[in-house]
Symmetry: C2
Subunit: 350 residues, 2 copies
């Protein structure tokens, strides 16, 4: 068959692509090299770095640890924003609108997600390809779905580590999305500078939010979908939320959470949200409060890493591995009690 120039081009492109993939695989074998490329802003290297973080393979984890060591402290002056809200509140439209506003201003924006349910449902926030269609095309934006099929602790650790790599790669605004599920908000709150709660007017879940402590965590509340017939209700809800927030004791940094309204769909109110976040960051950086908040978060990171590693170590212990199933069988057949079985296994790993 006669090769047309177009076919030859394709062929060369393929060869180049294959060579590039080989080169990347090789780079992945070398954490120093991968860390260097990440710090140069190489998006493919960044993706590979995060893939190593998400891997269950011990060798990959060790490589990831070395990369993080090299990347930590590489970036300064970044802003980490946590965004939560129940399904239907318009989180992805809001993040897309905020993200585009930021890239237009020259910021580089990374969007990560913490979703402990993604493993159960098979889906994943940010995982849906149809979401954030515009932001995903921006060269100054990086979007990564939530790692699936893990405990909240595991997902949180991975997200925390991914933040470091994104910042080292030059992304100066990191948005962490979470869905109002379980304790994921607490996890996200523990890794961001500013925590934003998205609400709808008259959704009637105020009491839940208060009871679950989410309102208390919020540095700002945004009533979204404030457009059309909904505009008046949103403005009323804004006043009510402002009043409700005053019922809480003042935050220890003296910050009073602001309530804003947006129409993410129409890109209205987004500038005001970013202005609020900037004001918060400036004030709290000046006072030194934000620096000590991040120090406290790093402290928590140490303790969470320890918890996770203790379990890994225990269940990888050959003596435990050999006895675990037998002990569980004895418990299931009522030949021993759960507490005794646990202590027998614990004594094996001493």
């Amino acid at each position: 068959m006669d090769k047309t120039p177009s076919n030859a081009d394709d062929f060369n492109t393929n060869r180049e692509a294959i060579a590039r993939i080989r080169q990347l695989r090789k780079a992945a074998a070398n954490p120093e090299e991968l860390a260097r490329k990440i710090k140069e802003g190489d998006r493919v290297a960044l993706s590979r770095g995060i893939t190593l973080i998400e891997s269950r393979n011990n060798e990959h984890r060790e490589k990831a640890r070395l990369i993080i060591e090299k990347c930590i402290g590489a970036a300064t002056g970044t802003v980490r924003i946590g965004i939560t809200g129940v399904p239907g509140v318009g989180k992805s439209t809001f993040i897309e609108s905020l993200g585009k506003h930021l890239t237009e201003q020259g910021h580089r924006v990374a969007v990560l997600a913490v979703d402990p349910t993604s493993g159960v449902s098979g889906g994943s926030i940010l995982g849906d390809k149809t979401r954030m269609q515009q932001l995903v095309l921006e060269s100054n934006a990086f979007i990564r779905p939530s790692p699936a099929g893990d405990s909240l602790g595991g997902v949180a650790r991975k997200t925390r580590e991914a933040i470091i790599l994104c910042e080292a790669a030059g992304f100066d605004v990191i948005i962490i999305e979470t869905v109002g599920v379980g304790q994921s908000e607490t996890a996200v709150h523990s890794m961001v500078d500013f925590f934003l709660l998205l609400k709808l007017a008259g959704a009637g879940d105020e009491l839940q939010g208060i009871k679950r402590g989410i309102m208390e965590m919020a540095d700002g509340v945004v009533i979204n979908k404030a457009d059309g017939d909904n505009l008046k209700r949103a403005q009323k809800a804004r006043v009510e939320f402002k009043r409700a927030l005053h019922l809480f004791p003042p935050k220890d940094n003296g910050w009073t959470p602001e309530v804003l309204t947006t129409s993410a769909l129409k890109h209205e109110g987004i500038t005001e949200v970013w202005d609020l976040i900037r004001k918060y960051v400036e004030e709290n950086q000046k006072s030194g409060w934000l620096q000590s908040k991040r120090a406290g978060q790093n402290r928590q990171w140490v303790l969470q890493t320890i918890d996770e590693q203790l379990k890994l170590r225990f269940y990888q212990d050959p003596a435990v591995k050999a006895a675990l199933e037998e002990q569980l069988r004895l418990v299931e057949t009522h030949q021993t009690s759960p507490i005794t079985a646990a202590h027998i296994l614990l004594d094996l790993s001493r």
Copy 2:
């Protein structure tokens, strides 16, 4: 001052009370004795046993472990019911009404609670003395508030252990109450035979319940406050919930969750709820499914005990204790990274 006979009686009563307290303290020193008294149905011994379970003192924990060893498997044919619902749904009124219905039929009912927020808010479900005023007076009922100030894991372990002691003391129906907060429902679901979801008509939190997987966990749904003006709405909601439940894949025991309406305040519909639970227990005991469910729960109990003990052991290690604060300080002052600090501490405890 002249002692009246009445004063003398008081004096004797006091002496008896003091002697009794001394005797109890002595008994508490002896786990075998305490376990024996619990199995005789001694309520004070039962309370002391649960207090030992809730203690942070290592010696108390070891005693508690010995008591549980003696009590485990002492009771058969008990029913463990988990009840959840958002604040305001009328949980305590419902539990009081169900509890009274059961004691009237000769059952002995224990009510425990899992509330991981109780430590934060200072309050506690079941802790409010004004709640369940009638049930608390019943000699065949035992009500214990949620242990406070702990992680969900800790609260869950303590509740699981308290169930064993209550059953050994002759309580044949154990009700575990939880509030719709965080992952506490999952914890309660993992320790009961039957999981009941309380709802209100038109509360609008259906989506949340579905998204958070609570609907999927329910073996039965009860629309409470089905009285007065609300009756028609409740009956309509019942039909809607039945339809919604059909959207879920069938449960692996073949059970189809039933939706009922109650007015706990007027004691209406309570008999039907108990009939439903009895039907569920009978069917699933016949098929052997309930026995294997409990076996699986015991398996989970082993793993949770291990997790908790691993942490306890690590943080009580003298080498870790000596180095922990220094490492955390280095992290906070950016002289080392969180991951490196964690690994240094982990290596110390090897």
